[in-house]
């Protein structure tokens, strides 16, 4: 242990010396041109082949994917008729409505009934209140468009995830193939595979739906694998003894037992689907995401915030209902009598839907919330930002300049001044120490891949921006997480803020941040920190809360003060969970790259974005893969470190 501490300190000193003192020639800093491999060209060619001429027998791949898109489109159209369009005659501007879509009253009553069904009337009222928010703030129509696509994306993502998870659980080779694919699905910025998706699945809502599913499904697969593994072997033995076939064992025994764990995955699918709302709206999903973008392009900050909060409201409704449903499954209630007596809530919703639909012709307020009654907070937000801008700009500017000069620029210089071979060697060494030769080999291979793409300099800028943001996010997130775990009231407040930050599109706060801090790395860093903070807080709080109470009592008995208990017992026990949080923080920071490109950073995210702008599929994919390589290196190193920490705890 001790000699290694010396070696790491020495390496850090060498790195500092190399980066700061000796300004090395560019030939040392960046990989030589000669080792660059034209990945971009190959990928473009491969994509062209895939989209234009690849075929399985007589059927081209494109026909297959288009067929699949049609399959997905059908249920989406049904939901959309129900929630958005109604049944109309004629097209476009001349369309006249024959049967209107479900009225806002009906949908809100349905939300209340679902809440009541799933848990109690309070949950129902919460869901109803949030739906009413959508109507009152004039977000209804867009929210229903978004809801329609979420209503398709989430079940498909969950079902697909569970199916893949079961396959991976049953056949180890599936897991081996799937694991790297899942990593890529989660870490390649969506923009990188946007164009191939559009070509394969056509333009419009379906492509947006599929992009959403690709992004949101991986956690479901992982959670399913973990949940199935966690089913106690006694239960499996019992199922075998009872004579279950493998299919019955899965359906009737394993999945029901795993449901509480599976719901964690469902929660993630919902949250991630709503994260994609903005990007999905760029490729045809419309809805709230399109409203956020359009508002901010007009610098209508209040409009952006209202539409953004509507996304958060939808997320809260769906998440809480989903959680409650999973807990409900156990207690089925039995009622006697007619169908409507046995299903009072369904009957109520149907009656309300029909009544408001019919009466809506006479009293339009029942069908659509009247424009005149809409509330808006737009002037408030505009005035608030204006006030801050006029009163505090100089102070904010001083803060920004301090951060730039004391922190951002030196760190940037450091990373750009490190010779690439040295950095690779240090990473490989860390991999070897933490996880043996295999990990060292993986890290080295991924590093060499980045070197061979010729994007080394951009990768270093990415590492600098994300690395610094992650450090700051952890510095803020750890204390917040500790506070949330120790104090229940603080925990609730922090939980609500963190949930909002996770679902509010970052674009909403990016524009006010730019107004106060100008375009550039500092604004980008604020946006990344705000988004990446979420797992830092959540995992820290979770880790502290799951420390066994006996251990804490033991501490109390030994006469530890509260501070000592925290320092000597709770925090060390929570280290593996906190490291997992760090891991997620890094992944989220990297996933924000494309957004930071929108405020003018010059990193891999910008490369992905520029590639999209020049319709260069290969270049976009290569930059996306480079981002994924960075993410996987960080993920594996930290995962190995967390594993070692856990092993140490178990020994002690």
């Amino acid at each position: 242990m001790t000699p290694w501490r010396g070696i790491w300190a020495g390496l850090a000193l060498v790195a500092l010396g190399l980066a700061v003192l000796a300004s090395l020639p560019a030939g040392w800093l960046w990989p030589p041109q000669a080792m660059q491999v034209p990945f971009a060209g190959w990928l473009t060619a491969a994509m062209t082949w895939l989209t234009d001429s690849a075929a399985i027998g007589p059927v081209t791949v494109k026909d297959l994917t288009r067929g699949f898109a049609t399959l997905v489109e059908a249920p989406y159209e049904v939901v959309k008729v129900l929630l958005v369009d109604g049944i109309t005659e004629g097209k476009g501007r001349r369309a006249t409505t024959i049967i209107p879509p479900l009225s806002w009253v009906a949908v809100t009553v349905a939300a209340v009934a679902l809440g009541h069904f799933a848990r109690d009337i309070w949950l129902g009222l919460l869901a109803g209140a949030l739906m009413t928010y959508l109507a009152v703030f004039g977000q209804w129509d867009s929210a229903m468009v978004t809801l329609a696509s979420i209503a398709i994306a989430v079940p498909l993502g969950v079902l697909g995830g569970v199916a893949l998870g079961i396959a991976a659980w049953r056949w180890p080779w599936v897991e081996r193939v799937l694991s790297p694919v899942l990593d890529l699905m989660q870490t390649i910025p969506t923009f990188a595979f946007l164009v191939p998706i559009l070509v394969l699945f056509g333009f419009g809502p379906v492509a947006a739906l599929l992009a959403t599913i690709i992004y949101a499904m991986p956690p479901m697969v992982r959670v399913t694998i973990v949940a199935l593994r966690a089913v106690p072997s006694e239960i499996l033995d019992f199922a075998s003894m009872a004579g279950c076939t493998p299919g019955q064992r899965m359906r009737k025994v394993m999945l029901p037992v795993a449901i509480p764990d599976l719901m964690v995955g469902v929660n993630q699918v919902i949250m991630l689907s709503l994260n994609m709302v903005i990007i999905a709206s760029m490729i045809g999903a419309g809805g709230l995401g399109a409203d956020v973008l359009a508002s901010l392009r007009q610098l209508n900050i209040g409009g952006g915030i209202e539409a953004g909060l509507a996304i958060t409201a939808l997320a809260v409704v769906l998440d809480r209902l989903g959680q409650a449903m999973s807990e409900r499954v156990a207690r089925a209630e039995v009622r006697q009598g007619n169908w409507w007596r046995r299903h009072p809530r369904t009957t109520l919703v149907l009656v309300v839907a029909l009544l408001t639909g019919a009466l809506g012709q006479l009293v339009p307020a029942l069908q659509d919330w009247p424009k005149a009654w809409e509330i808006t907070t737009k002037p408030f937000w505009a005035d608030l930002i204006r006030h801050i801008n006029l009163s505090y700009f100089d102070q904010l500017e001083a803060v920004r300049v301090w951060f730039l000069e004391a922190l951002l620029l030196p760190v940037r210089r450091f990373f750009l001044g490190l010779p690439w071979l040295f950095l690779l060697a240090v990473l490989a060494l860390a991999g070897w120490r933490l996880g043996g030769l295999r990990l060292a080999g993986l890290v080295l291979a991924l590093g060499l891949f980045i070197a061979a793409t010729g994007l080394w300099e951009l990768a270093m800028i990415t590492v600098y921006l994300c690395g610094l943001s992650v450090v700051i996010a952890m510095l803020i997130g750890l204390p917040l997480g500790i506070l949330a775990a120790l104090n229940e009231t603080a925990g609730k407040v922090i939980g609500a803020v963190v949930d909002t930050l996770q679902t509010l599109p970052s674009f909403v706060y990016l524009i006010p941040v730019v107004m106060l801090f100008r375009v550039g790395d500092f604004s980008a860093m604020i946006a990344v920190v705000l988004f990446a903070l979420v797992p830092a807080v959540k995992y820290t709080a979770h880790g502290l809360r799951s420390v066994p109470p006996e251990l804490i009592e033991a501490g109390v008995v030994c006469g530890c003060t509260r501070a000592q208990i925290l320092r000597k017992i709770q925090l060390p026990m929570a280290v593996p969970m906190i490291l997992l949080g760090l891991n997620q923080t890094i992944l989220l920071a990297l996933s924000m790259l494309v957004i930071t490109a929108l405020v003018g950073t010059r990193d891999l995210g910008q490369e992905v974005y520029s590639a999209l702008a020049t319709a260069d599929v290969g270049r976009g994919l290569v930059s996306g893969l480079a981002v994924a390589a960075i993410a996987i290196i960080a993920d594996r190193l930290i995962g190995a470190a967390a594993g070692r920490a856990r092993a140490r705890l178990e020994v002690a």
């Binding site: 333009f203 973008l293 610098l299 375009v519 999209l612």
Partner: protein
Amino acid sequence: MRAHYPMAIAALLIGAGAALAEPESTDPIKLTLHDWTGQLITTNIMAAVLEEAGYNVELVQADYLAQFSGLESGDLHVAMELWETTAAEAMAASLATGNTVSFGPTGMQGKEEWWYPSYVKEQCPGLPDWQALNDCAELFATPETAPKGRYLGGPVTWGGFDAERIAALGLNYEVIHAGTDAAMFAELESAYQRRAPILLWVYAPHWAPIKYDGEWVEFPPYSVECYTDPTVGVNPEATHDCGKPTGDIMKVGWAGLEGKWPGAAQAITAFQITNDEMGAMVGKVDVDGMSVEDVVDEWMTANEAVWTTWIQ
């Protein structure tokens, strides 16, 4: 729910004669929508006109640059606003495939140039002449760029040769690229509220030059030779020693459109609108808060004589 359309009623009064030609196909013609107001207006006007002619029209949200693959495959049919100033490369690449065709200019001219709010002139009286810029570099400087002035350029992908222009004209400025136009105009709004000096890339037709009082910097006039031949222009040793070109805003669509809906292709080709008309409509939406539908209805009612000739 739907707005009231005086147009449709007018068409009924005139009689079925409004549908001048039978549509060749009732399949929907898909027009792409992007995320800036001018484009929404242009596209909605085109859609309204095509519907008047009896065509079935569908509006599809699509990314400005990602849409080309859709136009090439026939998934999408018409893109109404492609600015030569920002999409030239992607447009040329797409037209070269032969799967898309140009339906000619829209009549609008995209203008983009360095721009400043009028109040800056009090501190820098030599403006709008570009030669005054160097005297005012300190005024536009921020701590990162000082002593150089800070010029907020468009997103990197917009090109624009600003770095070359600065070098060729010997300007004491540094280009800071905004990542999106939303970020760029957020900075303008912020500076305008504080009446702080700012120098940035503005383009028209757009709501910014309508909402904010300001002027374009006057560079030596653009010519093709100025960009290609060093000897032309004020600096005999460098290219790009002049202002930016104005560019047509083009209509581009799927190559098969003309075969399937010849009448529609003719109407799309005929579509013309001026910068002033568009500027006024964009102002109504983005500054006065009218809805796009209402503005389009207003235009359709006021310009019936114009659009009926497109669909004859």
